[in-house]
């Protein structure tokens, strides 16, 4: 049942699909950490990757990202948010790492 006004809001299906997929991803990430399959940077990237994937799935299935009709303002604002967050996160990591490298001589890089 898809209501033309409220779109996906009137169907149970996406909510249940989103729940099952999130559950699988949570358990997968948990077991990767508990049974140390990976180590070091690869573990970090896999865990952050699984988390980001789960967040995206929840955006799509719970918050109905991209399900709106043509002028997709919601999606545009979302993409702008992603851009701002990437600038904040990558920029801060870069600057703080640089500072650490230049003003903490005891660390012996």
């Amino acid at each position: 049942m898809i209501d033309p006004v409220h779109g996906w809001n009137v169907s149970f299906k996406p909510v249940i699909i989103g729940f099952v997929l999130s559950l699988l991803l949570i358990l997968a990430a948990y077991f990767i950490v508990v049974e140390p399959v990976l180590a070091g940077w690869s573990l970090t990237f896999v865990i952050i990757g699984l988390g980001t994937l789960q967040a995206l799935l929840q955006f799509v299935f719970f918050l109905h990202l991209g399900a709106e009709s043509k002028p997709r303002w919601g999606l545009m604002i979302f993409l702008f948010m992603v851009l701002v967050i990437l600038v904040i996160v990558l920029g801060s990591l870069w600057i703080m790492h640089n500072l650490d490298y230049h003003i903490m001589p005891t660390k012996g890089y």
């Binding site: 989103g18 999130s22 865990i47 719970f62």
Partner: protein, 201 residues
């Protein structure tokens, strides 16, 4: 004024414009709140190795406990989603039931979080000890504060629905609450991955 103001309380279509504008405004608010959490996450990423001789996340966190907490919040995200669908279908009893279940899951989640905070503080690991604990309490505490407001919001919204049934306005309000709750779950996904899983690994 050439046209008299007409109010059709029974038909949701006349509220479509107000409805979609409200939902859009709330969506923009949620995304800016994500930016707040992003700055807290990056502060955590920068400061978490600085334990000043104290224990790191590996010794402090209890991963099975946090997994249960995560599953509680995920299940509440499911029930609030189903409750939102029921609100659109004007099923009063199911809406009340599902939002109440969500409320109980939220209480369970908060109870576990308070338990964990007291365990840390009683073990001498409060936010005053080192930079890692300061940023940990700030990040997880900010999420907890949002949860607290969401719980209050559930109570405030359910009382009128209980007495007057589901009006078009209450569909709008319940949808905002549902979005807020699911947004908090998405933030928790990152807290679980970055703070807990990577903290223990």
């Amino acid at each position: 004024m050439t046209t008299p103001p007409i109010v059709h309380e029974s038909s949701p279509d006349t509220h479509h414009d107000v409805y979609s504008r409200t939902i859009f405004g709330f969506w923009v608010y949620l995304l800016t709140d994500f930016m707040v959490f992003a700055t807290l996450f990056i502060t955590y990423a920068v400061l978490h190795p600085n334990t000043f001789g104290g224990p790191s996340g590996k010794e402090l966190f209890n991963l099975p406990f946090t997994l249960i907490q995560t599953l509680l919040l995920l299940t509440s995200s499911l029930t609030v989603g189903l409750g939102g669908v029921c609100a659109h279908r004007k099923l009063k009893k199911w809406t009340l039931f599902l939002f109440f279940i969500t409320f109980l899951f939220g209480i369970g989640f908060m109870w576990m979080e308070v338990n964990e905070f007291t365990r840390l503080i009683e073990g001498g690991n409060s936010w005053q000890r080192n930079a890692f604990l300061s940023v940990y309490f700030t990040l997880v505490g900010t999420h907890g504060l949002h949860m607290l407001f969401a719980l209050l919001w559930v109570i405030v919204l359910l009382i009128p629905v209980c007495y007057h049934g589901i009006k078009p306005n209450s569909v709008k309000r319940l949808t905002c609450l549902r979005m807020f709750w699911q947004f908090l779950n998405i933030v928790w996904v990152f807290i679980f991955s970055i703070v807990y899983l990577l903290g223990v690994a």
